[in-house]
Subunit: 401 residues, 2 copies
C-alpha cells in the first residue's frame, strides 16, 4: 500500500460499507454510515493519525489522511466497513486521469504483471467510462512496455480503480479487508460468557460485529481450575477491547467455586456440567438485567462437548427465563472458529495452556432429561447460591492492547 507515498500528493483512503448497511432504508443507511465513519475517526484520533474532511460519494467515503498505512490498519478494525483502499485525487480531465493512472501503475506493477482498469462515473464529462478505461489502459501498456505488463480482465494481478464525480476524481489500488457488520454498539448490550478457550471470545466478537456492546462475564472455578485462566481472560478481554472504538470494555468475574462444590457434593456426577452451566446462566441473567443487557452470548457449538449436545442445550436453556441465549457459533466447524480467532487476534491467548476444570465427570450425560436436572436442583440451594454469587461479582475495566 506504499504506492501512495511513492506517487506523492495528498493521500486518501476509500471506505466501503458492509452489504447489510447498503440494503437499509436510506434514513437508516445514512445514520449507520455516519456512525461507522464516526467510529473510524475516533480510532484515528486515538492512534494519532491526522485526517481531513470526509468526502461522501454514493455510499462510499473518501477520507484524506496523513498516514495511509496507519489509517488502513484502523479501518480494518471498524465494524461496518467491508474494505478500504488507498487512493489519490485529481481533476476529472482525461489528461490528468491518464497521468495519475500511469504513475500509480508505475509504482505498483512488476515485470509481467497483469492488470485491469475499471471506472465509475457520475456527472457531465466529454467522455464516458469505457473511454477512461481505454485511455488509461493503453497509456499504461505504452508507458510500462519494458516491464511486459498485460491486460487481464478475468484474473488480473492488479485492479486500478477510477471514480469520476463531477470535477473531482479518485484513483485507487489494492485493499484491506474490514470486519463488515453493523456500527459498533448500535444494538445495545449483551452479557458474553468467556472461558479461557477458543470459542467464547469468537462468539463475543461475532456479537460485537453485529452492533452488540459486550459485558464480559467470566466464572472463576477455583478450586476446580488454576489461576492461569484468569490471566488468559484478562488478555482475551484486551484483545476484544482492541475492537471497541473506545478501546476499553468491562469484565465481570463471578466466583463459581462454591456453586460447583455444592453441585459436586449433592448432585449426580453425570449432571455436573449441566447443573454448573444452568447456575452460570442464572447469574449471567441477573447481571444482564441489572445492566440493561438484552441477551446472553455463549460460545456453544452444537455437539462440540457433552454439555453442548442438542439434547443438553435444550435442558440448559430453560434456566434462563427472561432473556434469549445467543450462540453465534452453533453451526461452525472447529476450523472456522480457528480462522476467526486468528483474524480477531484471540488465537494465541486461547491456545495458551491451562489446567482445565477438575470437576468434569468421567462420564458426562449427553442426553440429560429436564426432570432429572430439576430434581437434582431441588437438593441444591439454587436461589441462595445465585444471589450470593451475583452479589459478589467483581468488576474490572480492561484497556485494549
Amino acid at each position: 500500500m506504499s504506492w501512495v507515498k511513492e506517487v506523492g500528493g495528498q493521500p486518501y483512503i476509500l471506505i466501503r460499507f458492509g452489504g447489510e448497511i447498503g440494503v437499509k432504508s436510506s434514513r437508516v443507511r445514512v445514520k449507520y454510515e455516519r456512525e461507522v465513519l464516526r467510529g473510524l475517526l475516533r480510532r484515528l484520533k486515538k492512534a494519532k493519525v491526522n485526517y481531513g474532511n470526509p468526502h461522501y460519494l454514493f455510499g462510499r467515503v473518501y477520507l484524506p489522511v496523513e498516514d495511509v498505512e496507519a489509517a488502513l490498519k484502523e479501518a480494518s478494525k471498524v465494524f461496518g466497513i467491508s474494505s478500504a483502499s488507498p487512493a489519490l485525487r485529481t481533476t476529472s480531465s482525461l489528461e490528468d486521469l491518464v497521468k495519475l493512472g500511469v504513475r500509480v501503475a508505475s509504482a505498483c506493477l512488476r515485470p509481467r504483471s497483469s492488470f485491469a482498469v475499471k471506472c465509475r462515473r457520475v456527472g457531465e464529462h466529454p467522455y464516458r467510462s469505457p473511454d477512461v478505461v481505454k485511455a488509461v489502459g493503453s497509456a499504461i501498456l505504452t508507458n510500462l512496455k519494458e516491464l511486459g505488463v498485460r491486460v487481464d480482465l478475468d484474473h488480473p494481478d492488479f485492479v486500478l480503480g477510477i471514480e469520476v464525480r463531477e470535477d473531482v476524481s479518485y484513483v485507487y489500488l489494492g485493499e484491506v479487508e474490514g470486519p463488515g457488520g453493523l456500527p459498533a454498539g448500535s444494538q445495545g448490550r449483551v452479557v458474553c460468557l468467556i472461558s479461557g478457550g477458543l470459542d467464547s471470545p469468537v462468539a463475543a466478537w461475532m456479537a460485537m460485529r453485529r452492533g452488540c456492546i459486550p459485558l464480559i462475564l467470566h466464572f472463576d472455578l477455583h478450586p476446580f481450575a488454576g489461576p492461569e485462566t484468569r490471566d488468559k481472560i484478562m488478555d482475551l478481554a484486551k484483545v476484544l477491547a482492541g475492537w471497541m472504538h473506545g478501546g476499553r470494555l468491562k469484565v465481570y468475574v463471578a466466583k463459581h467455586g462454591k456453586a460447583l462444590t455444592e453441585i459436586k457434593e449433592k448432585a449426580p456426577d453425570r449432571l455436573t456440567c449441566i447443573l454448573c452451566k444452568r447456575m452460570m446462566y442464572r447469574v449471567a441473567e441477573r447481571l444482564a438485567l441489572k445492566n440493561g443487557a438484552k441477551g446472553i452470548v455463549t460460545g456453544d457449538i452444537i455437539g462440540e462437548q457433552a454439555s453442548q449436545t442438542l439434547a443438553n442445550l435444550a435442558v440448559i436453556d430453560p434456566a434462563v427465563t427472561q432473556l434469549p441465549i445467543h450462540r453465534p457459533l452453533l453451526g461452525f466447524t472447529k476450523e472456522e472458529v480457528e480462522r476467526f480467532a486468528r483474524k480477531i487476534g484471540s488465537y494465541e491467548v486461547s491456545a495458551r495452556p491451562e489446567e482445565g476444570c477438575k470437576a468434569v465427570p468421567r462420564r458426562a450425560a449427553t442426553r440429560a432429561k429436564l426432570e432429572d436436572v430439576e430434581e437434582a436442583e431441588e437438593s441444591l440451594n439454587v436461589e441462595d447460591i445465585i444471589y450470593e454469587e451475583a452479589e459478589g461479582i467483581e468488576e474490572f475495566v480492561v484497556e485494549g492492547g
Copy 2:
C-alpha cells in the same frame, strides 16, 4: 482429479475427518468416523458408484472406488468429512514409491510448475520419511527436467502426498473440500423455519452440518404473500434434501394467513412483525414437541431486519417456553451468508423474485417492549389461532434434486 485415470491402477479416495471428530474421546471418535463413512457409502450406493472395502489408517480412510470423480463429488457432501483426495496404492518399497511418484507428477505437473513432496510413515522400513521425500523429489526433478519444474516448500502449485504403512503405501494429490462438522443426524431433530429468503436455508444447513435432522417448517402467508414463495420453499427443500444421505426430508406448511389477518385487524401496526413471529414460534414449538425435536432453528441475524434487532429478539423469544431457539447466523455478515448459500446450492433459488409480505408495516418497532406486546396479544385469540394452525399443518416429503 483425472490424473488417477491417466496413471492407471485401482483408484482410491483418501477421506479426512473434520477437526471436531479428531478431538473426541477415542470411543466417540471411532463411532463418529464409522457413521461418517456409512453416510458416504450410502451416498455412493445411491449414486451408483461402486466401491470396495475401506482401509482405516490413523483417523483417515482409503476407499477403493470405481469412479474417482463421482466418488469425490459425493464425499464433498458428507458431513464430518473435511476433505478428500484421489489416491493410488503401491507397495512400500522405495523403488515402487519413486516410480509411482514420478508417474503421478508426470500426469499433473505443467511447465514451470512448483511442487513439494510430503510423507507420513508408520511401520518398519529400511528408510525414513525424509529419505522418501528426497528420493521421490529428486526423481521428479530429473524425469520432468524438460518441463522446468521446481521444488517450492512454502507455496507449491502441487503437493504430492505419500503415506507409508507397513507394506502398503498411498500416493495422493489434490483435494476437494468437504463440509466438515458432525455425522449427519447424530444430534437429533430440530424444526427449521424456512422463508423464501437467503438466510433461513443457510441456517438450516448449518444445523444439519452439526448433526441435526431438519424438519422444515414454512409459514404460508397467503393472502399477504404470493404463491411463488411456496415453489421456492419446495425447491429450497430439494437443495437441502440433497445434503441428506437418504436424499429426502420432511416439509411442513402452516397456513399463517389467518393469524396475520387477526394481528393486522386488532393489534398496533408497528408490532405486526413481532406478533407474527411470536405466533410462528408457538406453532413451531408445537410441531417440535409433537415430533421429538429438541430445538427451533431460524435464520435470524442480529440487526438484519427490524424484527431482528437485539431488543426485538428479546421480546420474540419468550413466546417459546419449552425449547431453545437456535440462530446459527446471529453474527454473520451478508457476504458470509451469500458465500455459504452458494456453497450449499441454495443461492439461486433464494434469489428468485417473490412478492414479499404485504403485511409489513411502514414503520416497524425496532425496540418493542414486552409489556406492549403481551398487551396486544390479549386482544388476540392466541391459543385458538395456534391450535387451529398447528392442527392444519400439511406434511410433504421432498426428494433431493
